[in-house]
Symmetry: C2
Subunit: 432 residues, 2 copies
């Protein structure tokens, strides 16, 4: 035997789950998928590897640095780093074959060479939905996609999440009104507010725009209140700007539509500090935090873009989308004990244990139970001790065991052992 | 507007589907998953990127050439090229936390830089199951995994497939008996039989082992008959070899167990020409062809390995597994018209079309229908013409449309239009 074994291990920043957690993960994915499909979102799947020139058509420096990019033959390839660029490419490429508004969902892995830290993964599942219009797209869809995230969270039994919603037009109009020319710097600063903290933010903001303007900005971004109150406060600003009016009007309509679509007022707040770093958002933007676990960052973010696919087509395709960071969410849920409490039922109801020469009889029973829709396994290692066979059922959470010896074959009487309460009962074979 | 648009396209050798085909693909995956889970296979998911030293621990030159391998920082990385190496690494790594026999399934993308040709993909889904024992594993499992493929094919409505089953020990023993030293060359030649054709095969075989031995080999590998007949013919060879006896005994038990597990005699043949190129197989081997479409290659292959994880651990972990090449299978099914006939039902049953100021009423109806378990969409683009709204339902196969105008809100009477037969009927809102 060789002694030069290679240590079995995976790369840091990659998540891999043991079966029980994997079952919980998959169950979460299934529940979310069901929610999306039942509201008319169509499945999509795109290659993980794409041409770098396509994937990086319009990427900022920060993105580019994190991309897994390499050559194969003469091709310059990259691994996708989100599911938004691929959907933009997809709608441009298959425009004539799609029905608009195009509602899609996509669940898949993306890759980011991030600095290794808790809750940040280099290979991560994203779970996206987008609605993309041809030339125009109702603002109602901005509420729709948020309501889908709400439904998804409810479906998996998640509570304590809070959507933080804003509209970029509002802040943009106010900065314009203040005649601020350092818009990007200010936006970037506000985007980092929670990361750098109130004091450092205030200092840097004064440094950038001066004390007077800084005071107005601080007042605006720290406005608080429920939806109606926030709208009222914004209207009270009495700034004569069409962009501000549009922003407020859009926000108003989104909040009203959220109620219509079943999102409770306790599920969201308006937070004008929400910017979303990526520059393609043009209206509604939002992030989502798990209360008490804000430190792990947003678990679901998104927003509206006026022209999603402009790198690939002259067509104007406005869209609005959300992305659930499923791997990060799972990490947080594991941390807070949610996953350990998450109920995963065994897909298998019966474990059939053949004793002696009874395989044929067991096979008949197996086929009968399976075709009646039950999950069922035959324990095929005949040399194992009975104790080990029963322990297999226990460890895998299989609730019922049927031991088939030659007596059972002779009499046809099938005894079921309930592994949960220890009871035995007779299975009526005619009624399977 | 910029005119330097990038042409939206994907790499050759990558499959991407439009929504309707993607729905069919996902439905196939769901059905196969259900079959696997109901028989006790546990889900597994491993990273697509692994350390090259782990993934290529024992790879032949042919594999290595095809691997997507690159550096990121100081790491030498590779994309997985199958799901067998990852499961080997997985069982070695988490040995103490797994329950044996460990039955797992995994469905995921793998990467191979193959020459670009029809039906061969560089990014492809594999759909694997494996049973892995600790030190020993009953031969019954060899039949189990084949029966799972049979159940999977039946679940998706596939017919005309044929498993071609052999046991490597049989041919190995016969070659030994013939005192052939060029075992690898002969095995490789037999493996290529279908590719190079009978005549060329015969010539090359004579060249390698001479006319006399060649005639015996030809006789053996071209034996035909049903299971019992093949066993009888092999036993008639009267070669006094323990390895041959074991091989025949294993084959016999696999065939007998196939019947017990519900695989019909019309679903398989014994074919001693089946070798499987990869060198880790040690007993049962099989491939699967769609009758009339053999040219596309095997759609499901697998076999038994005595020691799966020997590159990573001193533990002896015998296993048996199968792999369905899902992307290739889908390609073939598309080619032969199976996918176009495949019934994909819309997840959405009702499209609600609001006319005028009726969104609130529509929202109530939407929530009511959804919570009764129906799939339902609201058409949110109020500026579109009614014709376009109805056409949306038609194109997406949504069977029922509810138009809500101010009359409906006032009277509460909800009229449903059946898009399939054109009938109208009244929906009893109390009964939703």
């Amino acid at each position: 035997m060789k002694n030069n074994k290679i240590k079995p291990s995976i790369l840091p920043g990659f998540m891999e789950l043991l079966p029980r957690d994997q079952q919980a993960f998959n169950d979460i994915v299934r529940k979310i998928t069901k929610v999306y499909e039942e509201s008319g979102f169509l499945p999509m799947d795109t290659p993980i590897i794409e041409k770098s020139e396509v994937l990086l058509a319009k990427s900022a420096g920060e993105t580019e640095k994190q991309v897994y990019r390499f050559n194969k033959g003469s091709n310059d390839l990259s691994l996708r780093f989100d599911l938004t660029v691929p959907v933009a490419r997809f709608v441009a490429q298959y425009f004539n074959e799609l029905t608009f508004p195009f509602k899609r969902y996509q669940i898949g892995k993306v890759y980011r060479g991030e600095r290794n830290q808790r809750g940040r993964y280099r290979e991560l599942y994203q779970c996206d939905i987008d609605v993309i219009g041809n030339e125009k797209l109702s603002i109602n869809n901005d509420a729709l996609v948020i309501s889908m995230a709400s439904k998804a969270f409810k479906a998996i039994g998640l509570e304590n999440y809070k959507f933080q919603i804003s509209n970029r037009k509002i802040l943009a109009a106010i900065l314009k009104e203040l005649e601020i020319i350092e818009t990007t710097e200010v936006m970037t600063l506000i985007d980092k507010y929670d990361k750098i903290g109130e004091t450092s933010f205030a200092e840097q903001l004064i440094e950038t725009v001066g004390a007077e303007k800084s005071s107005v900005i601080n007042k605006v971004i720290n406005m608080q209140g429920n939806g109606d109150e926030m709208i009222a406060k914004l209207e009270e600003l009495r700034i004569n700007s069409q962009e501000l009016k549009t922003g407020i009007e859009e926000l108003k309509q989104v909040l009203s539509m959220l109620t219509i679509l079943g999102v409770g007022e306790d599920e969201y707040v308006v937070n004008l500090k929400i910017i979303r770093g990526l520059d393609y958002y043009t209206g509604t933007v939002f992030e989502t935090f798990l209360l008490g676990n804000e430190v792990y960052g947003s678990i679901c973010s998104g927003g509206r873009y006026d022209s999603l696919a402009q790198n690939y087509t002259d067509k104007v395709l406005p869209g609005v989308g959300i992305s659930i960071g499923l791997t990060r969410l799972f990490f947080v849920l594991k941390e807070i004990g949610f996953i350990d409490k998450y109920v995963v039922e065994s897909s298998v109801e019966y474990l059939i244990i053949p004793i002696g020469d009874t395989l044929e009889f067991c096979g008949e029973l197996y086929k009968k139970l399976l075709s009646s829709g039950k999950g069922v396994e035959i324990y095929l290692e005949d040399n194992d001790k009975l104790k080990k066979k029963l322990s297999y059922a226990n460890k895998l959470g299989i609730p019922k065991v049927i031991i088939v010896g030659e007596d059972e074959v002779a009499t046809g009487v099938i005894k079921v052992k309930d592994m949960i309460n220890g009871d035995d009962y007779i299975l009526n074979a005619d009624k399977i």
